[in-house]
Amino acid sequence: MNIVSIEHISKYFSVNDTQALSDMSLEITKGEIHAVVGENGAGKSTLMKIIHGVEKCDSGNIKINGKTGMVSQHFRLIESLNILENIIIGMEPIKKKFIVDKKKAFEQINEILVFYGFSLNLNTKIKDLSIGQKQLVEIIKVIYNDSDILIFDEPTAALSELEAEKFRKTLLSLKEKEKTIIIISHKIKDISAISDRFTIMRKGRYIETVTTKSVDISDISRHMSGTEIVNPTIDRSIKPGKELFSFIYNNEKITLHESEIIGITGYGDCGLHELEDTLEELSLNNKNIGYVPSDRLSRGVELNSALKETLVAKNPREFSKYGLLNWRKIDTFSKKLITEYNIKGTINCQTGTLSGGNLQKSVIARVLYQKPETYILCSPTWGIDIESANNIYHEIESLKKQKKGILLLSYDAEEVIKMSNRVYILYKGRIISTIKDMSVATPELIGKYSSGIINE
């Protein structure tokens, strides 16, 4: 039985002149886990918003037999309140007309916890939770609202591998209890491990729906983007050259050499963010350091400005004489960058209308143009489709060949292992371990260090 059936819907956004969806159809059976995959900007999030009812479509038919609940990429929780209070917001059980019945709420939520086998202390403040736990709170909130259809927008993007594994188990237990689940994800593992079927979208259109069991992993990736996952072959035989740059983190000196990639990783609040802030400061005072921020939407680009304004932001003085900007020079320069790095956009378009992959390309293009010796790349492939991520890996490879040094800060253990000469693992604001021999590095090993299970 189809719990959701969408027929030939279209959606046009006048603000940035994009056809987000055109003639899109989707059928979802009750009780299945259905993944929706596609490149950045394929219209997945818009489709989910339409199913959830927060966005209206321009034309087409939608039939939904049940209540929908959405867990979006960015959590909507009030940090200073506890779990219980966050869950019941908007749905508070009431006694004596206007008093919130916390006892009843407590019982109701506990029932849910027991039924699904979750463990959480309801009195904990949100700010004390890990990302995975926050997500669990969002899920319980949606269940508490009696939703039958749960929609997840890139749920595992911000999670560590360990937490992502837990999350997948959670989804399976939700499925057992007859909830229907729709999930958007870029991670092959989410799809291969738990989904029953997946639907591929490209440029706002329906491509096909595939039963997951009938294909193998590499097929999924080909289905998703038309390209295979390339395992970047970092040439580890290139010996690191002379010293480029060093900094001290928590009494430990980290030195970066030519042709060297140093990976720094960890889970959740391990201190990676604070380290990024420190390194950002360093990059401001040193022209030889190029910095690609992890928060590319606010630090990497200016969403409300024209693309060319974003591209020249680091060095506007280069395009000026006596303080006067030479817009013709800026235009030529921006056009050059756009063609060189294959950014899909025009120099005068609003930066915010670009898709995630193209935004990241713009950031990297700007940093590469600086021609620094040292690169600080923070979660460079986060939330980016496979094709764009591959391009970024290739770029890093060629930088290494050009004797540049690269600091790779990333929560993605696999990425760090693939690229680095050595890896530092952070745990609670300090370096818990250094892996120098990359042949022994596995995501599991890094996972154990990151969660503090092994301590050196």
């Binding site: 927060v54 401001l284 000026s320 303080g323």
Partner: protein, 341 residues
Amino acid sequence: MNNILKKPALLIVILTIVPTVILVFILSKDPIYSLYVFFTGPFSNKFNFGNMLNRTSPLILTSLGAFIALKSNSFNLGGEGQVYLGATVTGLILTNTAFIPSSLSLLLTIVIVLLTTGFVTFVSSILEEKYNVNSLISTYLISMILIYICDYFVTNLFLLENSNILTTKPIPEIFELKSLLPPSSLSSGFIIAVTIVIMFSFLLKNTVWGYEFTISGRNNAFSKSMGINNKKYKILGLTISGALHGLAGYILVTGSYHSVISGFYMNLGWNGLSSALVAGSRPIMILISSLFFSYLDSGASSATVLSDVTIELSTIIKSVIFFVISSKLIKDSLIKKGNKT
């Protein structure tokens, strides 16, 4: 309807004119004539037209001041007091410097006006940077204090005796701005104001300074990451905003009233703010929105003189505009949120 929604400026004009028409129909015995006078009054003769333009000159400067503050991501709610301060300083210097050459004292006046009013908002922005005092509040409170201080000078120490209004003695004729369209009061202040807007428009668009100023105001995190000094531009934005309000006060005295009158700054600050909000993101639009505001004002005065409509009407219309603008801002933020794909 969708097409209209895409052009907020047009929507604002429609949403203000419709209630005006309805109000006139309710309040007037001869609504058609009143409306006719209301809308054509400002263009009926040289006198009315010139007066309308002259009314616009200080408004253009206050709008530009508010605009610059908004661009640097702060609010200057103290426009009223800053205009009054600029005017009072102008009046006091020009009426009391007969002993130095006139061109020197004119130059001195402008410099002192810019410095004093700029300093007032500079203090607000420093308070914000150093002690986390919201400039939205501090600009307003400081401006209220300034109004009382200026009133003390105007209505006590320098009050012109035997006058039926609270005013200082007129400034010497030599300091009055050149009249452009007699018999109307249009003065060269209008040209000054327009020139300054064009100048800022150019600065913002075509200089490194303007570029960094704009980017810094739009996105702090980004500009910090690009090595732009956010603090500097934020302080500068509010300081320039204050100085421009002071200059509006200067033009008010030298171009329109030729003396400092208690309360004559009334609404210049607030109208400047709403006019800046209507103008949106392009400085050149300030000219159009300021003209629109004083057109409404002048229309209301014509209607008051020639028909049975009262002056309160224009105030009501301005409140309507404020409502419409604030809803427009809400709408903009909704559009941005809803469209992330």
